[in-house]
Symmetry: C2
Subunit: 471 residues, 2 copies
């Protein structure tokens, strides 16, 4: 494809995206298709000869779009938001066009340096502790997701806990990772990947009301393990748990980790973005104790997936844990020690130029514009929670410090399950569920830039009507 | 940003990309800037208020572009190619615009199903063994890179070798991974991540001429380990090593793995793409023994990074090794067992709609067009190798079955190092180096769609001239 052919096809694709966004609210939020509906519409063999872009775009409309769950729909309230924005897509387009591979500073100096600066910008915008800035021994990097950040933190923690033996000997003794019972499943997955197995994780009980980790239980677990000859390696504390956005108490957890020299990783995948607003920084109290921290601009900060921002207080330790340097990657810049090679900060070797989308987003919206977006989400969630609170049929199941509301019909689970199915079946909204203290609970998470009061009110109307029939 | 604002800015970015491709050949291949040159040009603080896209594009030209290594430049012959193409960028644009998160079938049915079909298309185009097709117990998935594919293969191998205990107990005995001394560094990195440490890897000697793994040495290593109570878990065989594109002999390695029930992963990251041409499938002889296989369409198949195509013969075993199912991800489709949830096929949870770029590439070029691209690369490398062969000052250091030529000035390393620096210093071409049998060796890898005979001839002229001065 020549540059001129790309130019013409590119305009058509830009139009397709703009039209999609302008009309996404009219589509059913989730696909109404059955498994295999999309695959059945595709040829079993790849084409022998090339086809024009128009044919592909026609099939995009006919085959693919009807088979999508529309994450950018204003009625999408499921999971956590994973919203993108115009400037994010523009940044991604430039990244795709440049086709840069930034594994080493030398293979993409601007790719590396823009990333370092963007992570410093974010650290400042969120008022993170100074230890995470690149001006000292710490620094930030883009990971694909908070799952990978948790894995990397696990590896650095093992390197530290092993006292230098882990790189050579691997997991040759019993190490333990601690997280609350409400922590994300990626903690268990990272431990399994790292060779600790499920037995290598201890889930710490939570406060029955706040759902936050009990520091006393954490201390007891660490002390019991030490007494039994198990080496405590890592605590993962969560700011904004996936189920209910509970906030583990870092001011109490931090000193326990410091006392026992256990690596502390703070996972603020969803809620971290809120800290761009000074009045929403309460979850970060005690963050100065953390050895590493992450949040996902791809969740609530208008930056398209994938973009997890991950910081460490000691970049040297991270690089020691992960680096492998074969001859074919040796170069003068690396050997000078004056540059960052981000391949040593992550699991894969290769990397895209993801800092571009952050740069476009931060410059288009500015910090003020991003604050406005976060505040709108919090206000919409509060508006919805007020509706729930005012209706005796319902109960709120957890505090809603951010933009997630957890609620349910009072009484047994069955009606709640039917309510969720009925509401999602309308195609107008999409909510997901969790269990809070064993009870089936609905989650409404706000985040899409197109979501307005009208959409939240419509969600409430649909829920309220369906509740009348769900008993 | 409204859809209309995006439309206008999107046209501008499409123009920027088309213009970049039309002029990339005129730029120096690598940045001439010093470390920190890009960072120093950026403000230390994020902007408080938003700025127009034009300002960002102006800074893209002024600050970022001069700090890039241009991987799409026709004179880029470094590492392995990582080329993109117009249709790939179009597919990525659609993916960014949709903002779909395909962790579960339910969160993106079309995202999942198009991926399954594209991997089947590729399996057919490369004539991979039937066991990898999704119509049986096997199937394919997109990983970010071959490094991650190797890691996933390592985890499945440990799950198998552990006989069911690894998920719970982790690495509680000594396991071993085998690869040749020429294998990619990601084998060692994956072993370290998986908790095996450097001691968990045995590098098997290679044939001094072909640089291919010695089956006899592999057998001896496995037998010695078994006798010593170490559990052989995984053999990683390479088709097209990073240094010289050596091909490990699968017809001999496969039966050894089968006999000892060791998981066999085949890493064809770069060279696998060549198998789209029937006459270039020699490296895949014996592939029917493999438990998993990967290659990178993002290297030599005109698909932008990241896109590693990874197949397993037993998807059930893979999912068993990696799955963790928290309440908030439970859904009816998953429980029906009728769908694929690709989150269980990879390290992270979230995933982008990467199948779109494969779909656009396969349909725009067709299999015939992609074959033409591969054949052009092979022919250009052969053309360059002929020049080297005809010049007594130089020696070829390895066979060149694909599009990589390894060569050096006869004699000591010093002149070769100076030659490389001088040639790269022209800004017209970019080559990298490796060591072959301990000797500093230059690598010229062809892959960019814009690279023609004129560019390869220019590279030879520059090398030939610099050689006269390098002694």
């Amino acid at each position: 494809m020549t540059p001129e052919e790309f130019r013409q096809a590119g305009y058509a694709v830009v139009d397709w995206i703009a039209d999609y966004w302008a009309t996404v609210a009219e589509r059913p939020v989730t696909s109404q298709g059955r498994p295999d509906a999309v695959a059945a519409g595709l040829p079993t063999d790849p084409p022998a000869e090339g086809e024009p872009v128009e044919s592909v775009l026609a099939d995009l409309d006919k085959l693919v779009a009807p088979g999508l769950t529309h994450w950018q729909h204003p009625g999408f309230f499921g999971y956590f938001p994973a919203n993108t924005s115009g400037p994010s897509v523009l940044g991604d387009m430039v990244s795709a066009g440049l086709g840069v591979q930034g594994m080493l500073w030398a293979t993409g100096p601007a790719c590396t340096e823009l990333e370092t600066v963007m992570l410093d910008w974010l650290a400042q915008a969120l008022d993170l502790p100074a230890r995470f800035r690149s001006t000292g021994p710490g620094g930030g990097v883009i990971q694909d997701s908070a799952s990978s950040a948790t894995l990397v933190a696990t590896l650095v923690a093992l390197h530290r806990a092993g006292g230098g033996r882990w790189r050579e000997a691997g997991v040759d003794r019993r190490y333990r990772v601690y997280a609350s019972t409400e922590a994300h499943s990626s903690v268990e997955k990272a431990a399994r990947i790292a060779g600790l197995g499920a037995d290598g994780v201890r889930l710490i009980e939570v406060d029955p009301v706040t759902r936050a980790m009990s520091p006393a239980a954490l201390r007891a677990a660490i002390e019991a393990d030490r007494a039994a000859g198990v080496v405590p390696a890592l605590v993962v504390a969560t700011v904004g748990t996936t189920s209910t956005t509970a906030i583990d108490p870092l001011p109490q957890i931090g000193p326990i980790c410091a006392e026992h020299r256990v690596f502390l990783h703070v996972d603020a995948a969803y809620a971290g973005a809120a800290a761009i607003c000074p009045e929403l920084r309460f979850g970060h109290a005690g963050l100065e104790y953390a050895d590493s921290y992450c949040f996902d601009p791809h969740k609530w900060l208008l930056t398209g997936f994938d973009c997890d921002a991950f910081w460490v207080a000691d970049a040297g330790e991270l690089v020691q844990a992960l680096t492998v340097l074969p001859e074919y990657l040796r170069n003068a810049a690396t050997e000078s020690g004056a540059v960052i090679d981000y391949r040593d900060w992550q699991v894969p070797l290769g990397r895209r130029f993801r800092a571009l989308k952050l740069w476009f987003v931060l410059r288009w919206y500015g910090v003020d514009g991003l604050r406005e977006h976060i505040r709108r989400g919090v206000a919409l969630a509060a508006r919805f929670a007020d509706r729930v609170r005012a209706d005796d049929r319902f109960e709120l199941m957890a505090p809603h410090p951010y933009s997630l509301v957890c609620f349910r019909l009072r009484g047994p689970d069955g009606p709640n399950e039917r309510l969720l199915a009925a509401v999602n079946g309308t195609g107008r909204v999409y909510l997901t569920h969790t269990r809070v203290a064993g009870r089936h609970t609905l989650r409404l998470a706000v985040g899409a830039p197109q979501t307005t009061e009208a959409h939240v009110d419509e969600a409430w109307e649909l829920i309220s009507q369906a509740a009348a029939l769900a008993d």
